[in-house]
């Protein structure tokens, strides 16, 4: 959050102006609302009206900021003068896109949940989640998508879901870098869930990267059929 806000207070008289504001400079292009936020950043907001104003102003500032960026503006001081509380423009780049990233991650997660709830994943059968993952990996946010898919594949709280994500990820043709794939398989094998470990071995079998052989060889698997499977996959690497 850019601003700390508190909303559990009463309304503000319409003619209220904080007494700590400096005299307004009519030539500054600014106004009281915006100048007010200069102080509001550091102080606690005192009413729900202030909270609303702060939010509205931040939204306005961000819109203007984007317009300046899209116009390829280089005079970054412009924003600093207009929005002194937001002088660090990097904040915009961090705050708003972060919100967008969270939403995009949530959309991906929800789409995968919905896909698996509507149809169980079966060996050898196409599953709609494959397309969801493919779209994410081909999107402009593919680098982020890799990280999100990694997190979703290694979620101990939702082991069946994670294993299904990993199995569908395994069906993609070489997602991410070889290092990314190797680390994902290694971390998957380190999970307590047999379903996720099994999915990790399947991913190794699908991708067949040479480095994955070492990862499989160094893993000590307690379940005998999964241990046998790992041994067979390692044998395949030798062919």
């Amino acid at each position: 959050m850019l601003l700390e806000t508190h909303s559990s207070v009463g309304s503000t008289p319409s003619d209220f102006v904080p007494n700590f504001l400096p005299p307004m400079d009519p030539s500054s292009g600014s106004n009281y609302v915006i100048r007010w936020l200069d102080y509001g950043k550091e102080s606690l907001a005192t009413s729900s009206d202030i909270v609303s104003l702060q939010r509205a102003t931040v939204e306005l500032a961000y819109d203007l900021y984007l317009k300046r960026l899209s116009a390829d503006a280089t005079d970054t001081l412009w924003n600093a003068e207009l929005f002194p509380m937001l002088v660090d423009e990097v904040c915009f780049a961090q705050v708003k896109p972060q919100q967008g990233e969270d939403q995009a991650r949530e959309r991906l997660s929800s789409a995968l949940w919905a896909a698996f709830e509507s149809e169980p994943l079966e060996d050898g059968m196409y599953h709609p989640a494959e397309q969801v993952i493919r779209d994410a990996l081909q999107s402009t946010e593919s680098e982020l998508a890799l990280e999100w898919l990694r997190e979703l594949s290694l979620d101990a709280e939702h082991q069946t879901f994670s294993a299904e994500v990993l199995r569908c990820l395994a069906r993609q043709e070489y997602p991410g870098s070889a290092l990314w794939r190797t680390e994902l398989v290694r971390d998957g094998l380190g999970m307590e869930s047999a379903e996720i470990r099994d999915a990790a071995v399947q991913a190794a079998e699908w991708w067949g990267d040479r480095d994955l052989r070492d990862v499989l060889e160094s893993h000590h698997e307690p379940i005998h059929w999964l241990r046998d499977y790992i041994r067979e996959v390692i044998e395949d690497f030798g062919e």
Binding site: P120, L121, E122, D123, G124, M125, Y126, T160, A163, R171, E192, A194, E195, R197, D198, A199, Q202, E205, W206, I223, W225, L226, D228, Y229, E232, V233, D236
Partner: protein, 171 residues
Amino acid sequence: MFLARKVTLSKWEPKAGLSEGEISADALTSDLRTQNNSLSFWQCGVGNTDDVEEAVLAMAAGRDHVDKLDVVWLDDDELLADGQTLSNTKGRTPVHELVNLHVDVCRLDYVRLGRVARRVVSAIEEERFFRLRKSRVKAMLVKAVKQERVKLGDLKGNIQAEVQKSLDEGK
């Protein structure tokens, strides 16, 4: 005689939060998903490796991807003793000579489905299961095409491409 069914072995492993002997609902709802109150099985003779692999070929040839397959095989006498109804039906597989190996366990209700689940657990405990890794499944399909048991063109797109690639490479 034994009847083979595709499962996902890891779903039948003990699960955190469930007591010993309790069957995971995820295993039941994903691996024993019924259609028209029936479950699909393939006859696999006396349950030796050759017989089970025939059932696996029937299953694998009708899929979208070449993938590993887990199968368990259940004793049909035990299923009948559980009150199950077995019905010979034509299986959906492009390996025509195996079509008639298909059997439906039908008229399933909540109780009888639970009994099938118990039989799956017993089969796994008694080692009546195996996993064929992806490369092994592909080798079976390639062999079946070479032996003209299945036409390459009858396999689905992805499988067809993978089998064709192996044939081109002389594997």
